[in-house]
C-alpha cells in the first residue's frame, strides 16, 4: 500500500493529460472516470487507515533535493484523510454540475492533484509546490470560463493569494536558515520546545505565514477577493473553491501556524479571536444585504470558515485549556471543515441549477418557485437549513462543538460570534422567501423541476447531510485520535 498516496496525486495529472487530448465531448467523461478511480483509492486509503494509531500513517519518503532540505514525504493522519475524502467527494460533484470542454476538465484535474498533494505533503517545499500548483488552474479557470468581470476578479484572486504565498515562502526560508529543516513534524517539535526564531524575526515570520494563510481561508479583513472570485467563477469551480480550496487555508493554520508559533498566537490571541468574530458577524450581515444569490452564498462561506477560525484560535490563544474543551473545539472545526465543504458546494450547485434555468441569479429575478418546482425548492431548502445549522442536518454538530469548546475557552468572543447564527438564518430565510414563496413570477413559469440526472446528484449528497447530522460517528472515528494528539500538542 506504499504507493497509494502517490498514485492518488499522480492519477488526476494523468487524467488531465488524457482529458486535454481528448475530443471536447469526451473530456468530462474521462474526468469522471479518473475521479471514480481516485475515489476508490481514497476509500482504500480510508480502509487501510488505522483509526486507533496516532501520528502519520502510510508514509512515503524519498530523497528529493537534499541540498535545500526538500524531501518527498507524503502521509496521512486523521485530518489529512478527512480532507482527501472531501476532495474525492467534491470534485466528482463539481464535474457533474456542469458540462464543459477539455481545457476546463484538464485544469480541474490538475487542481485536484494539487489538492491531494497539499493535504498529504509533510515537507514544506513539497507542500508549497502543491499549494501554488492549485492556484494557477484556479486562476485560469476563473479567467477563461468566468462570468462578468472575470478578468478583474481573477487577477485580484491571483495577485492577492500569490502575494500571501510569497510572504509565506519568505518566512519559511527564514525558518529554514535558522533551523535547517522543512519537515512539518520536526518543525512542530521545535516550535513546541521553544521559539523557532528570535525577537523581531519571529514576528516577521509569523506575520508572513499568517498573511499567506489568512488570505487563503479567508479571514477578515483579507477576504475581499472571495466574493468577486466566487461570484464570477463557473459553478463547478465555485464549488471546488469553497468546498476544498478554502480548506487549504484552515489546514495550513492547523498544520503550520498554530504548532510553530504558539507563543506569538498566545500574545495576539484576543486580536485573532476578534478577527474571527468579525469574519463571522460582518460576513453574515453582508450576506443579508446581498441581492445576488451566488454572492450571498459566497459571504456565508466566509462566515462558516469564521467558525472554524474561532475554534482554532480559542484552542490556541486562551490561557486555561481543559482537554475536553480543546477536543470539542478541534473536533468541531474538523467536522465543520467537512460539513461546510459539502453544504457550500451543494448550495453553489443549486444556485447553478437556478441560473441555468433563468439565466440570471438575482434574488429578485425569481418568485413563487415552490409552486412550479417543489422538488428543487425542497432539496435546496435542505441544503440551506443545513448551512444555517439546523439540528439533524450536518451543520449543527460541528457548530455545536465549536461553540462548546470556544465558549469555555473564550467566552466573550463566542458570545458575539453566536450572533452570526442569527444573521445566517435571516439571510437564508430572506432568500427562501424571495425565491420560493409568493405568487409565481412570470419569468419562472416555464421552469422544469429537478431532472432525473439532477436527482441522481442531489439525493446522495442530501442523504450524506442527513447521515452526518444524525449519526456522525463515522466521521469522528477518522479524526478522533488526531484530535487527541493535537490537543496534547497545543496544551
Amino acid at each position: 500500500m506504499a504507493g497509494l498516496i502517490s498514485a492518488l496525486i499522480l492519477l488526476p495529472l494523468a487524467g488531465a493529460l488524457f482529458a486535454g487530448m481528448a475530443r471536447e465531448n469526451y473530456a468530462r467523461g474521462i474526468a469522471l472516470f479518473f475521479n471514480a478511480i481516485t475515489a476508490i483509492l481514497a476509500v482504500t486509503l480510508w480502509r487501510n487507515f488505522d483509526i486507533t494509531a496516532a501520528g502519520l500513517q502510510i508514509v512515503e519518503r524519498h530523497a528529493w533535493i537534499p541540498a535545500i532540505g526538500a524531501e518527498y514525504v507524503v502521509g496521512i493522519d486523521g485530518l489529512s484523510l478527512l480532507l482527501v475524502l472531501l476532495t474525492s467527494l467534491i470534485f466528482p460533484f463539481a464535474f457533474l454540475a456542469q458540462r464543459r470542454g477539455r481545457g476546463y476538465c484538464a485544469l480541474m484535474l490538475v487542481m485536484q492533484s494539487a489538492l491531494y498533494g497539499t493535504f498529504t505533503a509533510h515537507n514544506f517545499v513539497l507542500w508549497f509546490l502543491f499549494y501554488e500548483m492549485s492556484l494557477i488552474p484556479a486562476f485560469l479557470l476563473i479567467k477563461i470560463w468566468g462570468g462578468e468581470n472575470r478578468d478583474r476578479a481573477a487577477t485580484k484572486f491571483f495577485i492577492y493569494t500569490f502575494l500571501g504565498s510569497v510572504a509565506m515562502l519568505l518566512s519559511f526560508l527564514g525558518i529554514y536558515f535558522a533551523k535547517g529543516t522543512f519537515d512539518f513534524a520536526a518543525l512542530a517539535e521545535l516550535g513546541r520546545a521553544g521559539p523557532l526564531l528570535n525577537g523581531n524575526l519571529a514576528w516577521l515570520a509569523f506575520a508572513g505565514i499568517f498573511l499567506g494563510l489568512a488570505v487563503k481561508v479567508p479571514l477578515f479583513p483579507f477576504h475581499t477577493w472571495l466574493p468577486d472570485a466566487y461570484e464570477t467563477a463557473p459553478v463547478g469551480v465555485s464549488m471546488v473553491l469553497t468546498g476544498v480550496l478554502s480548506k487549504m487555508g484552515v489546514y495550513g493554520f492547523v498544520r503550520l501556524l498554530l504548532p510553530l508559533f504558539p507563543h506569538e498566537i498566545r500574545i495576539l490571541g484576543p486580536w485573532l479571536l476578534g478577527l474571527a468574530v468579525c469574519s463571522i458577524v460582518f460576513a453574515s450581515l453582508a450576506a443579508w444585504a446581498q441581492s445576488d444569490l451566488k454572492r450571498m452564498v459566497a459571504y456565508l462561506s466566509i462566515n462558516h470558515l469564521g467558525y472554524c477560525m474561532i475554534g482554532l484560535f480559542a484552542v490556541t490563544a486562551s490561557a486555561a485549556r481543559p482537554a475536553v474543551e480543546m477536543q470539542a473545539a478541534l473536533s468541531g472545526v474538523f467536522l465543520q471543515i467537512f460539513n461546510h465543504g459539502i453544504t457550500a458546494a451543494a448550495l453553489f450547485y443549486y444556485v447553478g441549477l437556478l441560473e441555468q434555468r433563468r439565466g440570471l441569479r438575482g434574488l429578485g429575478d425569481f418568485g413563487g418557485l415552490m409552486q412550479r418546482t417543489p422538488l428543487l425548492c425542497g432539496w435546496m431548502s435542505v441544503a440551506m437549513f443545513s448551512s444555517l445549522g439546523l439540528p439533524a442536518l450536518n451543520g449543527f454538530i460541528g457548530e455545536f462543538l465549536i461553540f462548546k469548546g470556544s465558549f469555555a475557552l473564550a467566552a466573550a468572543a463566542t458570545s458575539i460570534a453566536v450572533l452570526g447564527l442569527l444573521f445566517t438564518a435571516i439571510a437564508f430565510l430572506r432568500a427562501m422567501q424571495m425565491l420560493f414563496s409568493g405568487p409565481l413570477s412570470e419569468s419562472c413559469s416555464a421552469f422544469p423541476d429537478l431532472l432525473r440526472t439532477e436527482k441522481w446528484i442531489v439525493v446522495p449528497v442530501t442523504l450524506l447531510m442527513f447521515a452526518i447530522g444524525i449519526a456522525p460517528q463515522f466521521l469522528f472515528n477518522i479524526f478522533n485520535t488526531t484530535v487527541i494528539q493535537m490537543a496534547r500538542l497545543f496544551a
Binding site: K156, Q371, F385, P391, F403, F476
Partner: protein, 657 residues
Amino acid sequence: MSPWIVDHLWLVPAVPLAASLLILSFAGSRSKGAAALAIIGQLIALVLAVAAFIPTLQEPGWRAFHNFTWFTFGENAVRIGWVLDPLAAAMLVMITLVGLCIFVFSMGYMAEDKNFSRFFAYLSFFSAAMLGVVIANSLLLLFVCWELVGLASYLLIGFWIHKPSAAAAAKKAFITTRIGDLGFFFGILWLYGSSGTLLFYDDGKGCLESAGLLAVGASATFIALLIFSGAVGKSGQFPLHVWLPEAMEGPTPVSALIHAATMVAAGVFLVARVYPLFSLGAVDGVTPSLTVVVWVGVVTALMAALIAIAQADIKRILAYSTVSQLGLMMVSLGVGGVAAGIMHLLAHGFFKALLFIGSGSVIHGCHHEHDIRKMGGLRRVMPVTFLTYAVGMMTLSGVPLFFSGAWTKEEILHQTAHWPRSQAPFYLMLAGVVLTALYMTRQMIYVFFGNRRAAAEHAHESPRVMTVPLIVLALGTIALSIVVTPAWPWLHAYLSGEPARFEIARLIQPMLFVSLALVAAGIGLGLLIYRRAGAFDPLERSQPALFRFLENKMWIDELYAHTVIAFSRTAAVLSDWMDRYIWDGFVRAFGSIGQAFGILTKGVDERGINAAVDEGVGSARGVGRVMSLWHSGQIQTYLGAVAIGMLALLLFYVWLA
C-alpha cells in the same frame, strides 16, 4: 425491571416521523392515503403514549430513563437518551390525543387544498418533533427536537406559500424564536461547560440531579435565564411574542396544533423540565431567575389579554388568548406551582385546541371569513360548533365546576396568592381573569348571537369529520376536570409525585368564590358592553384612541421595526458597503500603490535613463556630422591630401636626416 416501553419510548416520535417521511416520499399531492397514513401514525403514537402512561401510575414519582452514546469526540462521549416520568407521560398523552383530533379535523378542513398530502406530512413531522421534545432526557436532544419543532412551524405557517403574508409570517416566526433560541443555545453551552453533562437524569450524575447541580453552582441563575429566553421565544412571551399572532396565517389546524398542544407548550414544558436549575438555591421558593419568570409571565398575560379585546380576527383573538394563558402558566411556574402550571398546560391543550378548531369550523362555515364583525347569529345554523365552542369559552373564562381549565386556573391563582415576594402578581392575575372573560364574551356575542351579518348569510354546519373532533375535545375538556378538582387533586399529585387523597370538603374554597365573582363580572361586563354590538365595536366608539392602541398591538411591532430590525438591517447594508468600499478599498489602495510605483518607474525609465542615453548618442552624432564635413566626396581633394601628407612625411625625414 423497566417495562418494555421504556426501552422503546423512541417509537413514540419515530412513528409519526416515519409516516411523514413515507408521505413525502411516495404520496401524490392529493392522496387520501396520506391522511390515513398520518392518522394511523398518530393513532399508534397515542397507543404507545398510553402504554407509556400506565407504568408511571405504579408509584408516585416513578421515573425511568434510557441513555446511550450519540457520538464520541476526542475522548469524550456525548450521550443522549429519553426519560419517562409523569411530566413526560402526561404530555405525551395530551399531545397525541389532541393531535389526533386535529389530524382528523384537518381531513375535512383541508380537503380542498391542492397540497393536501404535504400538509399531513408536515403535521406528522411537527407531532414527531414535539413528542421528541417531551421525551428527551438530554438538553441537547431537547434542543435538537426543539429546533425541529421550529422548522415544522415554519413550514406549516408558511404552508400557503403563494400568499406573501404567510411566507413573511413564517419567516418572522422562525427568526423571532431563533433569537430566543440563541440564548437557549448559550445556556446549553454554559451548562455543558460547568456540569460536564447535558443528561437530565443519569443515576445521580445528570445535570438536574444533586451532583450536576452542585457543579453548576452559582451560575445556575444565568443558565436558567438563558434557557428561559428560549422558552420566551417559543411560548410567545413578552418581548418575543410578536410572531405568534402572525402565525395565524397558517391553516387553522396548524394554529390549533401550534397554539394548543405543541409548539407554544414547549416553552412551559422546558421550564418545568429544567425546574431544578431555576429553583437551585431558593430561599422561600424564590430565586432571581424565578422572579424574572413571574414578571415576564405577568406582563405577557395582561398585555395579551388587553390586546385581545380589540382584535377583529377570530383566530387572532384566540392567539392573544393563548399568549395570555401561557403567561399565566409562566407565573405559576415562577411562583413555584410547577404542577399547577403543567395542569393548566394540559387543560389548555384540550380547550384551546377545541376553540381553535371550533373557530376553524366557523371559518369553514363562513367561507373563509375571519372577521368576527361580519359574522353573527351562527348559533342556529351551526349548533354543534356553537355548543362545543361555548364549552371552550367557559373553560377559558374560568366558569367553575365542570370545566377543567377553571380548576387549574384557580389553582394557579391560589399559588400566586401565596408567593412570598409580592402580592402584585396575584392582583394583576385577577384583573387578567376579568379581561379573559370579557374578550371571550365579546367573541361569543359577535360570532354566535345577534343578527346574521354579511359572511354569516350562507353559513352552514361543518361535516361530521370536523364536528366529531370538536365533540371529543369538548368531552375531554369536561372529563379532565374530574382529576383536577381540589377534592381529588389526582393530576396534581401525579405530577408532583405524591399520593392523592379524596376529600370532598376541599372542593369549596374561598378562591372558588373569588374566581366565580370575577368571571361573573367579566361576562356581565361583556354582556353589558357588547349586547347591542353591531358592525362597530362599542369600545371603539367610546374610546377610539385606546381601541386603536390595542388594535395595533400596542405598536410593539412598529417599535421593533423601527429599532431592532431597522438597526440590524442598517448594519447589514453597512457591512456590505464597508466590504465593498473600505476593506476592498484598502486592497485596491494597496494595489494602487503598486500601480503608482509602476507608473513612477516607467517615468524614470523614459525621462531619466533613456533620455541620458539619447543625449550621449546625440552629441556623438553632432561630432560625427562636423567630422563628416571633411569628407567632401571630391576624390582629388583626397588625393591632394595624400600628396600633402607624403610631402610632409618627406620633409620630416629630411629634417630628421
